[in-house]
């Protein structure tokens, strides 16, 4: 009898009866796993996040991330990482060492940079302006979120979901409202996975068939671009360096993200002599960062965090931000087409929100549905990649003003 009682105390049942919230979280972990595994929604992130939720939500396992004020000793002093590990276990150790410090999102951006090809953007430089227009959702939702009662910092974190870029959303939330990290990261990755649904929806609501049939290649033949690139390799090497300097000048607070992205891109474009570095950045480093980012972000999703009215706001607001961003890009194309002779397919505006490269693939499919010869992929990639820069810049602005 005594043994059975002690055994019972070792288990998590007692805690669960007092507080059944974790059971709901397990159900949510199950849904996320289903989406990641079966529906293949961004599985590289959603599967680790879901498993992190699962591990975090059973009392006694010491795998849930504790709130930052437990680490804060007051007077600008904080518990050290060894004490955090000692007191709160390895998941908090990883979270406070890798995430709360803001380390992993820039590290992942370095890998993204080493996998990114700025070629399509350089060949159609003008199209990258639509990657600016498609950040509209961020700042509009910021306004709305503040209006409905979010604090400015929370609103900024919510709004950045509209940037359609995972590491950017996570980085911004770490800096502005770390207590919302779990829901915001999950919303960001879920809506990115839903891009094949969201983009066609907005496109159907806003574009005419005639617009969607605009053939970019024909336009290029009618109005050929001024300068052809003669030495693509040299341009691709110079581009990240110059861009790095410019961004540092104007938006210093986006340097951790964009600086690392451009560094990764540079070592990739240099080629054979720095191949070891670009392979490491886009391979083991990025993969390890993805695992630990996913698990720890998931582990912030305790039931107290999730079962909050703000979660609903994040889910609704995130979707609205996505929709406005897509519309913003499309709208900017329409305005451009009013003035310019060389017309642009509005799908290129729609892909400006980023979600690389899925948005471009979805847009290409839409274009092909209306005209089986109208391949817009390369053009979409231009605004698509510039959308990554756009949302990182927007993040920099938010952090600089609200952080």
């Amino acid at each position: 009898m005594d043994i059975l009682k002690q055994l019972y105390e070792m288990t998590a049942f007692g805690d669960l009866i007092a507080n059944p919230g974790p059971l709901l979280m397990l159900a949510i972990a199950g849904v996320l796993l289903y989406l990641g595994i079966k529906k293949q929604y961004e599985p590289l992130l959603l599967v680790p996040i879901a498993f992190g939720v699962l591990l975090a939500n059973l009392p006694g396992g010491q795998m849930g991330v504790v709130p930052g004020d437990l680490i804060d000793l007051g007077d600008h002093r904080y518990m050290n990482l060894f004490e955090i590990a000692h007191e709160y276990g390895i998941m908090n150790y990883l979270y406070y060492a890798l995430i709360k410090t803001g380390l992993l999102p820039p590290i992942i951006f370095m890998g993204v940079g080493a996998l990114t090809d700025f070629g399509p953007m350089l060949r159609n430089l003008r199209l990258s302006l639509f990657g600016a227009a498609a950040q509209l959702g961020i700042f509009t939702v910021l306004l709305v979120a503040i209006a409905v009662g979010f604090t400015p910092n929370e609103a900024g974190s919510l709004a950045i979901i509209g940037g359609a870029d995972g590491p950017t959303a996570i980085y911004t939330t770490i800096k502005l409202a770390p207590h919302l990290l779990g829901p915001i990261a999950i919303a960001a990755y879920s809506y990115m996975a839903l891009v094949p649904v969201i983009i066609p929806l907005i496109v159907r609501l806003t574009c005419s068939e005639k617009e969607l049939k605009i053939n970019m290649k024909e336009m290029d033949k009618l109005y050929p671009p001024k300068h052809k690139i003669k030495n693509l390799k040299a341009v691709k090497i110079a581009f990240p360096i110059v861009l790095g300097i410019v961004i540092s000048f104007f938006v210093p607070s986006s340097v951790p993200l964009l600086g690392m992205l451009l560094f990764g891109n540079l070592v990739k474009e240099i080629g054979a002599t720095t191949l070891r570095l670009s392979e490491a950045a886009s391979g083991p480093i990025m993969n390890a960062a993805t695992i630990f980012l996913g698990l720890t972000v998931g582990a912030t999703m305790t039931s107290e965090v999730f079962l909050d009215a703000k979660t609903i706001g994040i889910i609704v607001g995130g979707f609205v931000a996505f929709a406005i961003s897509v519309s913003g890009g499309i709208g900017a194309v329409k305005i451009y087409n009013l003035i310019a002779k060389k017309k642009i397919n509005p799908l290129i505006g729609a892909t400006g929100l980023s979600a690389v490269p899925m948005a471009s693939r979805v847009a290409n499919e839409i274009a092909l549905k209306y005209d089986s010869k109208n391949h817009v992929l390369q053009y979409c990639m231009a605004s698509n990649i510039s959308g990554v820069i756009g949302s990182a810049v927007a993040a920099g602005v938010l952090i600089s003003f609200l952080g």
């Binding site: 950040q135 910021l142 030495n231 341009v235 810049v393 927007a394």
Partner: protein
Amino acid sequence: MNGNFEIALQLLGIGMLTVFLILFLVVFLGNIIIRFVNRFIPPVETKTSRTNVVQPAISTGKMAAIVAAVQAVTEGKGKVVNV
């Protein structure tokens, strides 16, 4: 609350302005780089193309062909790490 809303309005202005400014600069400087490179750094013919060989840029069509070849050899259990 009222003050916060004002901040948000300001940020809408500043934010969109900055994003456009930066991407406008990207276009502008990108063009300058292209013209500069076209003028002063002519493409090195065969030499660079040889170093390019090491780069992992391969069309999906070719990739599929190689994968198929490897599968043929390994009876569907081989894996193409990097081509």
